[in-house]
Symmetry: C2
């Protein structure tokens, strides 16, 4: 509350708005953006991120929302752009920690949110979800007028928005590509961006994911044609995998299967979940009823197409179990074709490569990009980014949804255009970006960052715990327990250090015991004896093995 | 020795040869191939591999050589194709474990081997290195006639060979691309392969690395042109990184620097080592003497070019230290340009991406593929692979130097050619491939696989130790020490589990103590008490945290 007083401008000053990204700025993942005007806050999205290889054992990452908790009373409403995990996956953790305010989103987006909240036991009545059309206008508080705009992406009901505020208009693209042949025939609302551009856009916030890619991103229609060509030429069973959330891709695959005389079996929990939600809301329609893997026994191989999870090489997914021969009901065999209608997300390359190699070893035909054009990104490339910049003609520009390399290349792209923005900021999570008619700068920062979710724990793992995990993963751990009475002796146990080695254990025990006995003789304090044992063993182990396991010295008096 | 008798063919049978890959078949890395004819063995290369993300904490991997050790008396000689780590990096571990036999290789290759052996304290007299010209013919034992052939690659003095044996001719390409504008002007010896093809090639063993890439691999000359264009346009200092072993690339960079009026500083241990060996043997010539980072103070920014280590994002490399601002002498600044003349090797994507993002954040210009064509692979693409297959016209074909996906795509490529091989085998490490005039099949297997090198230890880490490391990295470790006398109590220590939490520790201690006291009351054996404590704590921890840390129960009586 103090912050409100402090932040409130003196009467004379021009009104200003603050844009505060709490996630998704300088990274790809856990998107959440806060707008504040005087004593009103509006929030956009609430996503999660997946851990990188140093965040060992972490299930997922959600954004820190300290700022929202500290200013909870000011939050007037929430809008959601689309149903991807990096935009809605954090909501079950975030919403219960904040006051109940209206949350606006399109039908599929809210359908997926409801499903997710239900999994966490959060009741409908605990949240205020308000379904809006994809071209709806909603008012949040006194200051925020939101007009949703349709933008094509890899999930239906994807929205950007034009935000009219007391300081001016903001266009936020949301995640987008400019698909000229979208699966549902509905193009992006570029006319609305153009109109806003004519009226004057103060700030453009735009998707930087593919800012390093020249040209245009391939249309979903081209992917469908490639998929159909592959499936038409398959003589045996077909197994296709993609992101379960890519409802368009899956719909198109159902259509391809129908045209090729194949019945579809959906396999995998998340695949079934998305299909159920999308079908229930009318976003997916199976030309033929789905079969189960038991039903297909009477069909010929060339009449079957499996749509399954595992496009990212996830160990428990259907495709991984097929590749490693651990699926309970289905065994791949020569003559089958597996289509990976996907690219590995950074960090998943090794897992996907492992699956692909196993598939080759089984002898199935494996179809994947780039040799086959069976995947397209959901994010626009440089020409599409330029189109939006040219239409919006913003005064200020905030490249968003990208790592620094993507943000900066997006900024450079903007500078090459006929009417470049007056000013572009490369912002980070937690930056407070002050926006006024003639002002656009970072004026401060608020707490932002990662909260680790692991098992049932949210936030009980910090960087110190992760550092221990990294250290143990590199060198293992060695535990020495010294018992002082009646006769001093030392027990040694290790994990992940070296192969069980009695000689080495005995030597370590001897070194530790000498330190302990010396300490006892000198009547040192227990802590000092423990430190002596630690030091002696560390030096000895380093000398004879060249390694530095995590050492845990314990003294039992 | 028994194996020799068993393996010896009856008088009447046609003579046959065995090809036994001990590394590099079905993988990219740790190449070593064994040929055996009756009681003579010849070995090719002895490389190392780098660990994947599940082989935590491992420094490097060398091939198992049990077969060679068991048949040590039969080894007549060794040949080396080139000086890359995946072909010679295992030799300091392998050669001392086997009898001293002639090891043939080209001057640069042996220069690098000598350097490597010296680092391990292996004396020249302990090995029998025999320098050969790149077109030399050598005889190994009675049965193996080797003719080296020049093949272009990303290091000078790279060789394949034609092996004439009692059963027929084998062409082994070694690592290669068919560079039409090689840096030293020396083309691959395709005429010799063609000649062998006319005489009749029984078996072709060929590099599968890029069997999935259509077309041709870009020439090193095109890379040089791209580098020169970039450097010529730089106004500030230039920092260029590539593989230290890519002597051609570095030579070309020295030439580019000279033509652009820049003096060169070499930074990083491996960069200096390769430059020293290559310069000493006449494979590298600096147009201007190298400077040190101290010398350049008096030069202007646009007169300086640093060649430095770090193309793979290695944490201790020069480029990483520059990116993270931890270099003792040099600080990057706006106006500098960093050129990554390299692609991340699979597994290094995340580390390289991190470095690139940090460089962008500093504000330097960052130049890397594919936006800039400043790198080319050292391995040929489909057209080049087809050229070799067409010239060699082998009866049998063994796609090598690749994972299954690469081997199988190489095999498929061969089938599309006008004169496809009669038979292609997709072999694995340890396969015994029997080769005779009319026979080509896997007839058995020998021990093969990975020996982990970690710190000073070679082979003292097995898969059990790695599994412990993986488990600890995911969930941490929890150690419970129960002291039974005089009064039972339990100490709990954890690492990498959850943030220090006294409440949880107390609850765990209580659960453990209850199990211990119950066991004592029932006068159970110590092992049973320990198991009870383990079980009780495991159940409790799983219930309240949803996690499964590695548990270590200890009882002190």
């Amino acid at each position: 509350m103090t912050q409100v007083e402090q932040g409130a401008p003196p009467q004379a000053a021009a009104p200003h708005l603050e844009v505060i990204p709490l996630g998704g700025m300088g990274e790809i993942g856990k998107n959440i953006t806060v707008y504040r005007f005087e004593d009103e806050i509006m929030v956009v999205d609430g996503g999660l991120a997946f851990p990188d290889s140093h965040q060992m054992g972490i299930d997922l990452i959600i954004p820190r929302i300290d700022y929202l908790q500290q200013n909870a009373g000011l939050i007037k409403g929430w809008i959601l752009t689309h149903g991807h995990e990096d935009h809605i996956g954090g909501l079950p953790y975030i919403l219960p920690r904040l006051p109940r305010v209206p949350v606006y989103g399109a039908p599929l987006t809210l359908g997926l949110v409801r499903e997710k909240l239900a999994e966490f036991g959060i009741k409908d009545a605990d949240v205020d979800l308000r379904e809006t059309a994809l071209d709806a206008k909603v008012r949040i508080g006194k200051s925020f007028h939101v007009e949703f705009i349709r933008m094509t992406h890899s999930i239906p009901d994807n929205a950007g928005y034009i935000l009219t505020t007391p300081v001016g208009k903001i266009v936020h693209t949301g995640d987008f590509k400019l698909d000229e042949e979208p699966s549902d025939g509905k193009l992006s609302d570029l006319d609305k961006i153009e109109q806003a551009g004519k009226e004057g856009v103060l700030l453009l916030i735009s998707d930087s994911t593919n800012a390093e890619r020249p040209g245009r991103t391939v249309s979903e229609a081209a992917v469908t044609r490639a998929l159909e060509e592959v499936v038409r030429n398959c003589k045996g069973r077909v197994f296709m995998t993609t992101f379960a959330s890519n409802v368009h891709r899956i719909q198109n695959t159902l259509n391809v299967a129908h045209r090729c005389g194949r019945r579809v079996v959906m396999e995998g929990r998340s695949m079934l979940k998305y299909a159920q939600v999308a079908t229930g809301l009318g976003y997916m329609e199976a030309p033929d009823p789905f079969l189960t893997s038991e039903d297909v026994g009477q069909l010929q191989d060339q009449q079957i197409l499996f749509v399954c999870t595992g496009s990212q090489g996830q160990p428990m997914s259907v495709l991984s179990r097929l590749a490693f021969g651990t699926h309970a009901k289905i065994a791949l065999r020569r003559g089958d074709t597996v289509i990976l209608s996907s690219n590995p997300i950074p960090g998943n390359e090794e897992a996907v490569n492992l699956v692909i190699n196993r598939l080759y070893e089984i002898g199935v035909d494996v179809v994947y990009p780039p040799a086959f054009k069976v995947h397209a990104s959901g994010h626009g490339s440089q020409e599409e980014l330029a189109t939006v910049l040219n239409l919006a003609r913003p005064k200020f520009f905030l490249p968003w949804h990208g790592e620094p390399r993507h943000q900066i290349n997006h900024a450079k792209l903007a500078q090459t255009l006929p009417r470049p923005p007056k000013r572009t900021l490369i912002a980070k999570n937690g930056d407070v970006v002050k926006l006024a008619a003639d002002e656009f700068k970072v004026t401060g920062t608020v707490a932002a960052g990662a909260v680790y979710v692991d098992g049932l724990g949210v936030g009980d793992i910090g960087d110190d715990v992760l550092l221990d995990r990294v250290n143990m993963s590199q060198e293992g751990i060695l535990i020495m327990t010294a018992v002082l009475h009646p006769v001093p002796h030392v027990e040694v146990v290790s994990r992940g250090f070296v192969r069980s080695n009695r000689d080495l254990d005995n030597q370590i025990r001897k070194v530790a015991l000498e330190a302990v006995e010396q300490g006892m003789k000198e009547k040192k304090r227990l802590e000092d004896i423990r430190d002596d044992m630690y030091g002696a063993v560390r030096r000895f182990v380093r000398k004879v093995t060249g390694r530095n396991p995590v050492l845990i010295p314990m003294i039992v008096d």
